[in-house]
């Protein structure tokens, strides 16, 4: 990895971590565990669409590890990892399928995968099958928040990318 690439990915990580920090200061919108806005995914989606799945994975892992150390609640890192990695896998599949178009659609499927991943971990941690009751709520909220973060990533791609084009040329 070149110094330039490393710096760029570090900048993306900082951005994602800042968004994550701001978001965790917002009180929960609905009293259902697992429902959150997921704005940090804007950065993952952006890196995925502008660079590669591997770069997005680096940024994602760095963000989750740093967030875990900075604001960690121990087990929350496990939820983030399961959700984040499943989300990235699905999103990179969707990007290949959609040939890098339709970012909001990619983002919605990513959000769905993220919530399913978290629900699976919750089921394992709680050793309870009842968490399945949360599935419809989590799916519906993923569609709304996924659409929103996808639109944000689309805007970033359209309005900011042209100004930082020289940064992504590797």
């Amino acid at each position: 990895m070149s110094a330039k690439k490393l710096t760029l990915l570090a900048l993306y990580t900082t951005l994602a971590l800042s968004i994550y920090a701001v978001e965790s200061a917002i009180p929960p919108l609905v009293p259902i565990p697992g429902i959150k806005l997921g704005f940090a995914n804007i950065v993952t989606l952006f890196v995925l669409s502008r660079h590669s799945a591997r770069d997005a994975l680096w940024v994602l892992l760095a963000r989750i590890l740093l967030a875990g150390f900075l604001f960690g609640q121990g087990i929350s890192m496990l939820y983030s990892l399961a959700g984040g990695i499943l989300c990235l896998v699905i999103m990179s599949g969707m990007q290949a399928l959609l040939r890098k178009h339709f970012l909001p659609l990619t983002s919605i499927f990513g959000a769905l995968a993220h919530n399913i991943g978290q629900l699976l971990v919750a089921g394992l941690v709680l050793k309870s099958f009842y968490v399945i009751s949360y599935l419809p709520y989590l799916m519906l909220s993923a569609m709304v928040t996924g659409l929103f973060t996808g639109l944000c990533a689309l805007m970033v791609n359209r309005f900011i990318s042209p100004h930082i084009k020289h940064l992504s040329s590797e």
Binding site: P31, P33, Q73, H101, L105, F109, A122, L126, K127, P136
Partner: protein, 132 residues
């Protein structure tokens, strides 16, 4: 942009799939059992059933505290036909914000303290599982 690089059909199919999924979720929530007069509250910690309370037989409201590993502590309040967590030492307190539940639709979950409170209609639980 030509059609081969702009997979419109795939996108349409995926959007359709999403709409179906959304409809399915809404249907699930509608069809799920609504308010029930005779619910049993089951309190699980780490997958172990700690207590089972017949909410329709609660005469006077009462409170008790469930303690778990690592100093986890949740205080529950039980009233006739409803149950809720009124205080907890978890970081987010989502369980407290959820308030009182009286239907089997959504269990109260405290993820940090590994606690689940699930209501089940009485007719699906055998009499042996109930403490009066």
């Amino acid at each position: 942009m030509n059609n081969s690089s702009f997979p419109k059909k795939t996108a349409l199919a995926l959007t359709g799939l999403l709409l179906l999924l959304a409809a399915g979720c809404i249907l699930w929530l509608i069809l799920a059992k609504g308010p029930s007069d005779h619910c049993i509250a089951q309190i699980y910690q780490d997958g172990v059933l700690l207590e089972s309370i017949d909410l329709s037989r609660v005469e006077a409201p009462y409170e008790f505290t469930v303690s778990g590993k690592g100093g986890a502590s949740n205080t529950l309040r039980v009233t006739k036909d409803s149950i809720g967590i009124i205080s907890a030492n978890c970081p987010d307190r989502i369980c407290v914000h959820q308030g009182f539940i009286r239907t089997p639709l959504l269990p109260i979950t405290c993820l940090p303290n590994h606690l689940v409170i699930q209501l089940v209609p009485r007719d699906t639980v055998g009499p042996d599982a109930t403490t009066y």
